[in-house]
Amino acid sequence: MPVYFLEIIVVALGLLMLMVDAFAPVTDKRAIAWIGMLGLVITFALLFYVKWPESTEGVFWKFYTSEDSLSLFFKGIALLTTLVVLIMAVEFTPVVVEQTAAAAKGAHPQAGLGEFFALPMFACAGLMWMASANHLVSIFVALETVTITFYVMVAYLRRNVGSLEAGVKYLILGALSTGFLVYGFAWLYGTTGSMELPAISAALASPEVNRVAALFAFGLILVALAFKVGAAPFHLWIPDVYQGAPTPITAFLSVGSKAAGFLVLLRLVAPYLASAPLVGKVSLVLAVLAGLSLLFGNLAALPQRNFKRLLAYSSIAHAGFLLMALASSPLMEANSAALSPAKVIAFYLGAYLLMTLLAFLVITILRTQIPSEDLDAYKGLAKRAPFLAFALLVAMASLAGIPLTAGFFGKLFVFKIALEQHQWALLVLGLIGAGAGFYYYLKIAASMFLETPDGKSAPVATTAIVISPLARVAIVVLIVLIFAAGVNPALILGLL
């Protein structure tokens, strides 16, 4: 089965879900999500059975990378993320229903819920397509598929001012960054005379390349992609959008969108890093971006009191670590054998997926029972819901990079290649960031374990928190994977 069938399957699945929502008499619309989950699991299994065709001729293949395990890996990330997002969305149903449905007479009591499950499917298809995009046009179209879907999803809770505010912010800044991207692509095309990445790569590597024009194109593209991955100083939208968006969508943004953004960044930056005349300036710019993200993300996370906002800053910080790996790329030919930045970034994102999704999954479950996402609201949670508190503790430990969790190896590899490339300044910033991380991630543990609910910010409720079996299974699987990848990272590296 050719690879691009996967995207088609996912799109078809999304359409099917929309049709079921529109025409089938479903009493509980959560059934629609089940269709999606089932389909995603099957698609994920199909990942291991795809074939790459022998020739890359033909209309379709022009836009598609040739055989490449990295793109399969990122398709897997997209699928898994969407799967967990759907699980979260099911948990999140009461909130969505409460804040969307205008209970008109005769309307379905869950009107408007079906799209909430279907939209992630389209975003997922876009992310998967992006993972294989090899042509400026297909990169752009895939990116926009994702972004436009996100505009809708971020603002989905239309009765919630925060969600609307987040939607508007994301829309305006997103549109602006798209403008930068197209303009950058135009310059890149003008400089190299091609839209295909291999040809662009060859053109940039030649010594006669117009350096100013190429770097200008790079600058424009970098602005747009730094926006997508949330690197400082283009991170301003992140805290507000993360806080305002529905929690499952925040998780989707912070994992899926970031992963795809980094893959595109890798693909577009690789020709520059492989080009002898340009590599010096390019890696300097990347290093500056990485340093700013590390510093800003980690330090601004310290005083946060809202959990989602805290995770927003942490996501900026993680973008910093990922950029640190990218900035530590030597000239690309040295990369073939060793632990290349591409592998490091892929591993880091794989680990990041596990721990971030775990954290958001727990927040989603708690959100339906504790009507606040402030850290103070989690006081005494360890007594009320020990299982969830433990899960959150594991997620935080992994995000902080404590050994024997997946997050540690991510940081270890990043530090390793930074050391090898003698990026001392970045290394120091990374250490400061990781040190700060101990504080702000453990702050959540402190709130859950060390404090007792005071009745004001945190309810003194003693009722147990209900966890659906599906969510419980997902949490256990994620925890096990975090520890397994923390002892044996070859589990993830082997997929590359």
Binding site: G435, A445, A490
Partner: protein
């Protein structure tokens, strides 16, 4: 599944079982008893003829990919790790025996015992790992349990702040350590995490590290490991944390876990970075004098037993550093022996401090007094702890300290080197510690019985067993240091053999 894997896994599996619902105290006791049993078995079966090589080796390769250092879940013991394993097993069992019963923990017994097992199991794993990554990782296993234990079950108003302090200090210290270790691994070719292979590479002049790299790496390791061992001036986390921590945690942390930093210096820094060690020698001597003299005086000024025990434990690290700085067989053997002696005696002290706090509600010298009249058995056992800590002959501490001083003063020449001056300064530390320890003994146990204190019964058997266990070991190793030295000496000699070759 080898013997060592069982020893490492036992506490971790017990923690998992408790998390899944097994009865906490029984499971913890059984598993830590099992650890001690298997450790003794390892000691009995240990072949002393094989000098300085790891035994009971087990290795499971986790990955061997090009361009990434080879990683395997590998365990092994040599003489040094063996005695530290015995120390860890003894203190872990004692700590769990000292821990309060489940019903007095108000529904949080599971968390309590899981944390204890993770702290102990982490230390044991670190001592037994022959793979650099797992050596580091197992030590970090204790980080979050310690944070939770001090924050939840600790004493005093500012226990949360103290929990933060120790976590951030140790976290940042480990990060610095990590960078140092990574630099060393990359400098040695970046092909493996196996400690023996790395040392072999470092010994080989063709692949070894250059002098300037060694200086950098040793500096980072000294700061990193030094923070974990509370080397002056990175020590300020230790005393408040031990004072605030519940007794079993203080026992495990001060007695066992803190030895990890010293173990790392001996196991990794000395054989891999001899030139770096020489460069930093003078700095280390100054810092360790800071530990001994400056903290000695700080200890003299303490007015509470737990704070005093905490600062005194920081102070005594200075002697062990002196043995390491001496860099000869007798000094390092003494340092290892002293690690065991100190671990046992400080655990004993914290165990009894916890009992007194529970019984009398305070540990301030001014509010205590005459407790020997009310609790004669406690008085006697506390005397043992005091004498052991002060380094009286007959206790393992004495054997260790004497060897350290001999090692530090050794040499044929007659001129006054830096280390000899340091040794003279360090000897005064013995006097200082005798003063504060005996004073504490007098203020708490002698004189008129303080008003309102001394109620309840004396130590019962259940409470005596863990203390007697520790005292017995202290006396055994003190009267017959050869019990441990027979393991330590060949291992230390092996360290030097490989250093020279």
């Amino acid at each position: 599944m080898s013997l060592l894997e069982i020893i490492v896994l036992l506490p971790l599996l017990a923690a998992l079982a408790i998390g899944l619902g097994a009865p906490a105290r029984i499971t913890a006791l059984v598993s830590s008893g099992g650890v001690l049993f298997f450790s003794l078995l390892v000691a009995l079966r240990f072949d002393r003829a094989l000098e300085g090589t790891a035994q009971f080796v087990s290795s499971r390769s986790l990955w061997d990919l090009p361009g990434i250092p080879k990683l395997s879940l590998a365990f092994g013991v040599d003489g040094i790790s063996l005695v530290l394993l015995l120390l860890a097993a003894l203190v872990l069992l004692a700590a769990i025996l000292v821990a309060p019963a489940e019903d007095s923990l108000k529904g949080r017994a599971r968390l309590y015992y899981i944390s204890l097992l993770l702290i102990g199991g982490g230390a044991i794993g670190a001592f037994l790992s022959t793979d650099l990554f797992f050596l580091y990782a197992f030590h970090e296993l204790a980080l979050i349990p310690t944070f939770l234990m001090i924050g939840i079950f600790g004493h005093g108003e500012d226990r949360v702040r103290v929990a933060w302090t120790i976590t951030i200090y140790l976290g940042v210290g480990s990060l610095i350590l990590l960078v140092g270790l990574l630099l060393a691994v990359i400098g040695l070719g970046g092909q493996t995490f196996d400690i023996a292979e790395l040392i072999a590479l470092a010994k080989n002049p063709a692949t070894g590290l250059s002098a300037s790299t060694q200086t950098w790496v040793y500096g980072l390791l000294l700061v990193g490991f030094g923070t974990l061992v509370s080397l002056f001036p990175f020590h300020s986390w230790a005393a408040p944390a031990y004072a605030a921590a519940p007794a079993p945690v203080a026992m495990l942390h001060a007695g066992v876990l803190k030895k990890f930093g010293l173990y790392g210096l001996i196991r990794i820094a000395l054989p891999m970075l001899p030139l770096g060690a020489a460069k930093w020698q003078t700095v280390l001597l100054v810092l360790l004098l800071g530990n001994i003299l400056y903290l000695g005086f700080v200890t003299l000024a303490q007015k509470k037993l737990d704070r005093m025990a905490g600062t005194s434990s920081v102070m005594h690290m200075g002697y062990i550093f002196l043995g390491i700085a001496a860099g000869n067989v007798i000094g390092i053997s003494g340092a290892v022996l002293l690690m065991v002696g100190h671990g046992l005696s400080i655990a004993l002290m914290f165990g009894m401090a916890g009992w007194i706090r529970e019984r009398c509600g305070t540990l301030e010298f001014s509010k205590l007094g005459g407790l020997a009249q009310a609790y004669p058995r406690l008085g006697l056992l506390f005397g043992f702890a005091v004498f052991a800590s002060a380094g009286l002959p007959g206790f393992a501490n004495f054997a260790g300290e004497v060897a350290v001083f001999f090692g530090a003063f050794a040499g044929e020449e007659t001129n006054w080197t830096w280390i000899r001056w340091t040794t003279v300064g360090a000897l005064w530390g013995v006097v200082i510690s005798a003063v504060y320890l005996l004073r504490a003994y007098r203020e708490i146990f002698f004189g008129p019985l303080a008003a309102g204190k001394g109620e309840g019964h004396d130590l019962n058997w259940a409470e005596r067993i863990p203390l007697l266990l520790l005292i017995g070991a202290l006396l055994l190793f003190g009267f017959i240091p050869e019990v441990l030295n027979q393991f330590i000496r060949p291992a230390v000699e092996g360290l030097f053999l490989t250093t020279a070759g």
